[in-house]
C-alpha cells in the first residue's frame, strides 16, 4: 500500500508542471486568440487599403502574407531548436511537448510561404517556381520539417522520440546557415542576377506598416496555435497514460483472479 501511495505522489509531482501549464493556457488562449483576430482585422484592412506598387500592381499585396509566413517559418524552427536545448540540457518536461507541437505549425507556415511565393512568382517572373536562393532554402527547410514530423510519427515512445528528434533538430539548426550559404553560392554560380530582390532594405513606409502589423498578427497566430497544440499534446499524453494504466489494472485483476 505504501508503495502505491508513493507512486501516486511521484506521478502527481511529475504532472505538476504540465498541469500548471494547462491552467495558464486556459487563461491565455482566449486573450491570445482575440488579439490575433484583432491584429488580422487591422492588418488585412491596411493590406487592402494601401496603394499597390506602380510596377507590380495589386500583386504586391501577396507580400503581406508571404513575408510574415517566411519569417515565421524561421522563427518556428528557432523555437524548436530552443525547445530541443531544453529537452537535452535542462530536461524540462514541457520542452519536448513544445518542440513536437511546433513542427506541424512550422511546416504549415513554410508551406504557406512557398505557395504564396510561387503565386507571387507567376506574375513577377513569369513562372511558378524559380530556383532563387531564398525560395530554395525555404524549400529545404520545408523538407526538414517534414522529415522531423515523419520521425516523430514513426516513434511510439514519446520520451525517446523527444531526445532523438531534439538531437536532429539541433543538427539541422547548425546546418541551416551552411545550407543557406551554400544555396546562395550555388545561386550566384548558376543564375546571373536576373531575379529581382523584392524585399531589400529600401522598403517604402507605405508597405512597411501593413507588413509590420501582419508580421505581428502572424506571430500572435503562431503563439496561439503553439500553446493550443501544446495543450492538446499534453492531453493526448494523459489519455495515453490513462489507457496504459487501464490495461495494467486489467492485467493485475486477471492475475489475482
Amino acid at each position: 500500500m505504501m508503495n502505491d501511495q508513493s507512486l501516486a505522489i511521484r506521478k502527481f509531482s511529475d504532472l505538476a508542471n504540465p498541469t500548471r501549464f494547462l491552467g495558464l493556457a486556459e487563461r491565455l488562449l482566449p486573450w491570445f486568440s482575440g488579439l490575433t483576430a484583432l491584429l488580422f482585422v487591422v492588418g488585412l484592412y491596411l493590406c487592402f487599403t494601401t496603394q499597390g506598387d506602380y510596377q507590380q500592381g495589386e500583386t504586391v499585396r501577396i507580400m503581406y502574407i508571404h513575408v510574415p509566413a517566411a519569417w515565421l517559418s524561421m522563427m518556428c524552427y528557432t523555437v524548436m531548436a530552443l525547445s530541443a536545448l531544453g529537452t537535452l540540457v535542462w530536461r524540462h518536461p514541457l520542452a519536448d511537448v513544445s518542440a513536437r507541437a511546433a513542427a506541424p505549425i512550422g511546416a504549415c507556415f513554410t508551406l504557406l510561404a512557398l505557395v504564396t511565393g510561387s503565386l507571387w512568382g507567376k506574375p513577377m517572373w513569369g513562372t511558378w517556381w524559380v530556383w532563387d536562393a531564398r525560395l530554395t532554402s525555404v524549400f529545404v527547410l520545408f523538407l526538414m520539417y517534414l522529415g522531423l514530423i515523419a520521425l516523430n510519427r514513426a516513434m511510439d515512445d514519446p520520451g525517446k522520440a523527444a531526445k532523438v528528434s531534439a538531437i536532429l533538430i539541433l543538427v539541422g539548426f547548425v546546418n541551416i546557415p551552411i545550407i543557406k550559404f551554400s544555396v546562395e553560392w550555388w545561386n550566384t554560380l548558376h543564375q546571373p542576377a536576373s531575379v529581382m530582390r523584392l524585399d531589400g532594405p529600401k522598403i517604402d513606409p507605405e508597405f512597411l506598416w501593413p507588413l509590420l502589423v501582419m508580421a505581428l498578427a502572424f506571430s500572435m497566430l503562431f503563439f496561439t496555435l503553439h500553446i493550443a497544440a501544446m495543450r492538446n499534446e499534453i492531453w493526448r499524453r494523459r489519455v495515453t497514460s490513462m489507457r496504459r494504466q487501464a490495461a495494467r489494472n486489467l492485467g493485475m485483476e486477471g492475475r489475482k483472479a
Binding site: 514513426a154 531526445k163 538531437i167 536532429l168 547548425v174
Partner: protein, 219 residues
C-alpha cells in the same frame, strides 16, 4: 579501435557483399541517366560531374541505415555503449570503416563512369578528387540519421529523407568544385576548400550527435 575498424571492414565484405552492392547501384544509376536524357555526348559530358555526384550521394545513403541497426539487433551496441572508450570514438571509427567499405569503391569506380559520360581527363580527375573529399561528409551526416532511426524497424527510407536535405551543401560544393576545374573563369580552390571544411565540420558534429542519439535510444 583498429579492431573495430577491421571487423566492420570484414563484415561489409562478407555480409552479402554490401560494399559491392553500393558500387553496382552507383553504376546502374549513372548508366540509366543517358536513357533519360538521350545519348548526346556533349550534353552528357556537360552534366557528367553532376550525375556522378548525385549517383554517389544516393549510393552512399544506401546501406547507411544498417550502420547501427545491425549492431543493435544482435546486442553488440549494448556492449559498445558500456565501454570506457568514448562512444563518439567508436561511432567515428564505424563511420570511417563504412566509408572505406562503401564510399571509397565509389571514388575508385568514378573514373570509369566518367569515361561513359564522355568527360575529359581534367573533369574526371576533379570529380574523383571532390568525391574523395566529399563522400566522407555524407557518411558522417548519414550516421546521425542512422542513429536517430536506429530503433525503427523500417528506418531506411526515413534515414534518406532526414539526411538528404542536410547533404545539400556537400552536393553543391562538390559539383561546383568539379565544374570549376573544367570551366575557366571559376576558381577551383574556394569551393574545394569549403568542401573540405564541411567534411571536417561534419566529422565532428556527426559522431557527436550520433553518439548522443544512440545513448538516448537504448532500451
Amino acid at each position: 579501435m583498429i579492431a573495430l575498424f577491421l571487423r566492420d571492414l570484414k563484415l561489409s565484405v562478407r555480409a552479402g557483399g554490401g560494399a559491392l552492392i553500393g558500387v553496382l547501384f552507383f553504376m546502374t544509376v549513372v548508366a540509366v541517366i543517358p536513357f533519360g536524357v538521350g545519348p548526346d555526348l556533349n550534353l552528357l559530358s556537360r552534366i557528367g560531374p553532376a550525375i556522378l555526384w548525385i549517383g554517389a550521394l544516393l549510393a552512399c545513403l544506401l546501406g547507411l541505415d544498417r550502420l547501427f541497426q545491425a549492431e543493435r539487433e544482435d546486442g553488440s551496441l549494448d556492449v559498445m555503449l558500456m565501454q570506457e572508450t568514448p562512444l563518439v570514438l567508436s561511432v567515428l571509427v564505424k563511420c570511417l570503416a563504412h566509408w572505406t567499405a562503401s564510399g571509397l569503391p565509389l571514388v575508385i569506380a568514378s573514373p570509369l563512369l566518367g569515361l561513359f559520360m564522355n568527360m575529359n581527363e581534367v573533369a574526371i580527375g576533379a570529380t574523383m578528387l571532390t568525391l574523395l573529399v566529399g563522400t566522407p561528409a555524407i557518411t558522417f551526416i548519414g550516421a546521425v540519421g542512422a542513429a536517430v532511426a536506429v530503433a525503427l524497424p523500417r528506418g531506411g527510407l526515413l534515414v534518406s529523407i532526414l539526411v538528404l536535405p542536410l547533404a545539400i551543401p556537400v552536393l553543391i560544393f562538390g559539383v561546383s568544385a568539379a565544374y570549376a576545374a573544367v570551366e575557366d573563369p571559376a576558381p577551383f580552390l574556394p569551393p574545394f576548400l569549403i568542401l573540405i571544411a564541411i567534411t571536417l565540420f561534419f566529422a565532428v558534429i556527426g559522431p557527436l550527435a550520433a553518439a548522443a542519439a544512440l545513448r538516448s535510444s537504448s532500451d
